[in-house]
Symmetry: C2
Subunit: 356 residues, 2 copies
Amino acid sequence: MRTLFLSGKAFIQEKYYIVKNHQATIVDIARTLNLSKSTVSRALTGHPNVKAGTREKVLEMAAQMDYQRNQLAISLLTNRTQTVGIIVPEFLSFFFPKVIIGAQNVLAEAGYNVVICHSNESYETEVANTKALLASRVDGLLVSHTKETRNFDHFRVFERKGIPVVFFNRIVEELGGSKVAVDDYGGAFRAVGHLIQTGKRRIAHLAGPDSIQNSRNRLNGYLDALRRYDIPVDPALIISYDLTLDKANIYVNHLLNLPQPPDALFAINDPTAIEALKVIKSRGLRIPQDVAVVGFSDDPVSALIEPGLTTVAQPVDEIGRQAAALLLKQLAADDERPEAETVVLETRLIVRGSTV
Amino acid sequence: MRTLFLSGKAFIQEKYYIVKNHQATIVDIARTLNLSKSTVSRALTGHPNVKAGTREKVLEMAAQMDYQRNQLAISLLTNRTQTVGIIVPEFLSFFFPKVIIGAQNVLAEAGYNVVICHSNESYETEVANTKALLASRVDGLLVSHTKETRNFDHFRVFERKGIPVVFFNRIVEELGGSKVAVDDYGGAFRAVGHLIQTGKRRIAHLAGPDSIQNSRNRLNGYLDALRRYDIPVDPALIISYDLTLDKANIYVNHLLNLPQPPDALFAINDPTAIEALKVIKSRGLRIPQDVAVVGFSDDPVSALIEPGLTTVAQPVDEIGRQAAALLLKQLAADDERPEAETVVLETRLIVRGSTV
DNA sequence: AATCATTTTGGGAATGTTCCCAAAAATTTG
DNA sequence: CAAATTTTTGGGAACATTCCCAAAATGATT
């Protein structure tokens, strides 16, 4: 009995062993209702040229059979998967999850699914991720690259194939494609300016790796703020590190052990700044009197700890929303790709107990 | 010239408008090398029956053309996508991201890709997620359901289609499929026992919604601990809420306003407990002398705040790893699905300043 | 040199869907 | 009531790949 409902292959298999896990297809529905697959297809996709009664019968049978359209077949045919890939280097801090949620909201609205890849700050994994996304034929890509990534050829492949890529947060100047960044330079400039205005003069900077543009921009903001107030730059106070927290611990201790230790620290991000606060407290120094600390990105934790962390806030989910919007703009045009755009979002300083 | 390289459709299109974004196929490679698609396919998949020279030529041409296999076509044919879906209710707290990373590591090892869906604690979104994953033909599913989910029919569809589902963290007793949970009952029992041993007698419990099994188990642990020490249960001290933090704020204030306020609070999770600490501090009460607080799940923030939060730790990424492992076990068997398993992981109490 | 065995290659079906075009059925018009 | 028109349905190609089976090429053995 049941065999009547099943499409070719399953029908044959039924004779030899019990059919398991057969996913109903439009052919199965067509067979049971004595219709052609064309008609069933039309009924299911809402095409107007189907008799009302027929459509009803089809929909009913589809529900009864747990029919679920096979997106693979459709994508193969249409050459569009309605899927966007997102590659992020980590998602344990609040930052990337929040960006992803922002992007996902905008993309879901437009009928796109999202595949999230976690490169885990590994170049190799990132390359593997792009291969996998290429194989699964994503329509577009949102990327924040790893700190190890210095060669961007794996992204150029997308360019060549006409698959739009939008970079966010960690962007790549030398590559085409739309970009979403925040005003890292301005944020850093204001943060360091604030420290100077509270009377600090020996301001250290725990910088991020040179491979990430944010790091370079924040470093420039730091340098220009010092110059602006005629404070000499001491290279001993600038340490670039790889963002792993145990290293942060070591470097903060190193700075505090200097013959002329810093009276303030501007950290590349909030996790680093929080680690610094721990070290400073554990050494019995007062915050901010002995050492003031500023972070970057306003992690929710920063408001919870004692003292609260002064930090440069950025509109995190807006980064995701903007990146998604730029990608959709690229995807919408089916003839010529519109020109790539770069969006720079504002940052603002949030002053808390770690500086005043 | 270029047209010679292109497969059928593209070839025709070339005559009318410029071909853009054509993704090279094995047919394109076959054409340029004067081979059949069968031979090219064999060369690329590493089938032994290909002459060494031919294989080399094919691989070289594939690289030159940026060839990337079309996983859609393969999946359509083989009826396996090598993709696993993960549905989580949120990922702003550290918990779910960490579970996902654990699961992803295990799954990637086994050659599976991962599609992450964010149901955002919305039943509707969760149902939509399952539909999308069904349409994209995931081979298996890892789920932690929303707090709104009371009807589980959308998961039963997977069962009927023979697609294995593994529930983690928020599990569903009444459904088949493997499950990964932690010892919520024992953790809660020990947490409340600890409060009692530090001399507390009026212990409140901010519980989670009844729809989530963890909430029920932790509540039972709380109740049994009180009974064990012959402390009367006061229903006024048990408040079940929907896990939104502004509500937590209101309920903690409500509890502290009672004629006989509690001298301790056991919270369903760490974010709730941290919110409680804020309220208690803002009212000028001493922690833990006036009110002690215990959370659940050892959020990294809990170690950073003042005072440190006593909490029940659970092996978060192990939850993900175990869930992935159970799913792989189901996926490995291509004949009969092995019996579903349930793994319960240990919890352990971490004592910090919020209780001693 | 002819036969046999082995290696290498090619042709075609199948996967599930959409869409075009033609055929059939139903409806309207003269 | 036949012709013309509209609505509804069916058949088949196409998407990119794998795999089976047959055909061709090569190598080994007599």
